[in-house]
Symmetry: C2
Subunit: 292 residues, 2 copies
DNA sequence: CTCTCATGGTTGACTGAAGCAATGAGTTTA
DNA sequence: TAAACTCATTGCTTCAGTCAACCATGAGAG
């Protein structure tokens, strides 16, 4: 991590060096940025956003005012406070700055291989998500599948169960078979999204007679505790009723305790279980069902 | 990307703020770091590594010398140059600095959720790999499959072909079926690695009689041009011979031009082709074979 | 209504980081 | 051996940013 910090400090340094021909320091640029994006802003707000010293900010604003980039005026509500907004000249200065920065980044990105940009942006998003999880309630959504979801399902099952329970090839193939046999004409699949990215899934499979089967319920560790498991199961049962089923069954293993709680809450009851083994690991297969 | 830069500047700032009780500036810390890691270093080398002004560096070194952290001595080979190395006190100062930095990072990481650390480090590695690809020749390897590879195969096929050719659910299910039907007792799979990470694959499927089939040849865009496709196909044919096959066949589509070149180079010839359509997109299915 | 105190902004003085340029010691080359 | 060059040092300067004193305004108590 420290190696990365050293490295990235240098990257940022290189990008900023490219902007040295413009007459604004980094901090001044940030001020312009904030004011440009807010339209009109109290200086106090500006100060706290950029974590600047009041005196320093005052001087910067005085200079900007002198250069005709901004207009400062007293707040009508509280004459102690000042409001700041950009003049046309200020907006132009901001846009020049913005353009210079965009150019630098474009130049950097242009030197990258095909898929590099995407990987870069993915990784950056991941870092932000980890270090500074978006505060407010995360937006969740249960939706029908799209292209790409099936391979996502296989991949995440493989990765997560390998990590959490050590299940290997047999399990991956089992998942692949379910996905391969999935028939959109009579089966169904829902994907749970958190903030626009897949975070869980469940399959509904139409069995013979009046029975349906729930399969491959998964919720990403990072998305647990949001009630997605419950909603996925509910969606599945609702669909089963609409599909004329009288009963839904599912297979699971005793080690999947959090899934079990979801099944119980949805009305499933344990019908039978038997011990088996996979790759030398003891597992207890369970069969659950619910009457609709 | 700019949002990330702003964000990460703040992260680095926070980490450095935690070290403010120590009497060294960021640059001084970097100097200590370089000298500590190099053992003994010419000041010129130091200057170019850290990209410092000669005067500024001279002053820093003078101060360090005064504080008894380093020893400066003239180079025996060229008395204009100076050599710098740490005194025991200097090493101790460096270690204190190092410890403070480690502590800060540990504290930051401790506040993260379970899988966060891993995602963070993965993402950081990805960013470095993209922005500053390890120079020397990349190490490549063709190896038998491990746990997790099957789901990787499904996932990358789904993602890459969706991106490059717009193939969707049908193709994902086709791949899933191949993976589900894969029988390690008579079939085979090889994974190509670049720098220790999966970058390609190929399946060998034993067909009836004396025929084998090559399936799901894939090389990541970032790993193309390294000859991995050729090596995967060779591995597959070698195995087919060892498995007593007289002939290996494969299906492909005419739009996969780079794969075609690999097949031709390996001795495959086009047997037949027919037009079809998938999701409304025209495709030409081709059948190739090679006699062993 | 006015006095007091809190808040917000401004200004002057100051510090530390860092760059520039002149200087001098030492080295290489014509 | 003199000229050209390299390298470290030092004085001067700039710039970013902090601190503290000060002034204007607003809010609440008597």
């Amino acid at each position: 991590m420290r190696a990365f910090n050293r490295f990235y400090t240098r990257v940022i340094g290189v990008l900023q060096a490219g902007m040295h021909d413009l007459p604004y320091s980094l901090t001044e640029g940030r001020v312009l940025y904030e004011v440009a994006h807010a339209g009109s802003l109290e200086t106090g707000e500006l100060r706290s956003r950029l974590d600047l010293d009041a005196g320093y900010l005052s001087r910067i604003l005085t200079r900007f005012d002198g250069d005709g980039l901004i207009i400062r005026e007293r707040s009508a509500a509280d004459a102690r406070k000042h409001l700041v907004r950009l003049t046309p000249a200020g907006r132009e200065a901001f846009e020049a700055l913005d353009r210079a920065s965009t150019d630098d980044i474009t130049r950097l990105l242009a030197g990258l291989p095909e898929d590099g940009r995407e990987r870069l942006l993915d990784a950056m998003r991941a870092i932000r998500d980890v270090l500074d999880p978006p505060a407010g309630p995360r937006t969740t959504l249960i939706r029908p599948p799209r292209d790409g979801d099936l391979s996502w399902v296989v991949h995440r099952h493989g990765v997560l169960y390998a990590r959490e329970y050590g299940w290997g090839r047999d399990f991956e193939q089992l998942v692949a078979r379910v996905v391969a046999d999935f028939d959109p004409a009579c089966d169904a699949l829902w994907i749970a999204e958190v903030d626009g990215r897949p975070a869980g899934c469940v399959f509904y499979i139409r069995k013979d007679g009046t029975t349906g089967q729930l399969r491959l319920l998964l919720v990403e560790p990072s998305a647990r505790g949001l009630g997605l498991g419950r909603r996925l199961v509910e969606e599945c049962l609702r669909h089963a009723r609409a599909d004329g089923r009288e009963r839904v069954v599912l297979w699971t293993r005793d080690c999947l305790t959090s899934a079990r709680r979801v099944y119980e809450a949805a009305g499933f009851r344990l019908d039978s279980q038997e011990k088996g083994s996979e790759n030398g690991i003891e597992v207890t297969e369970q069969m659950w069902s619910v009457d609709l």
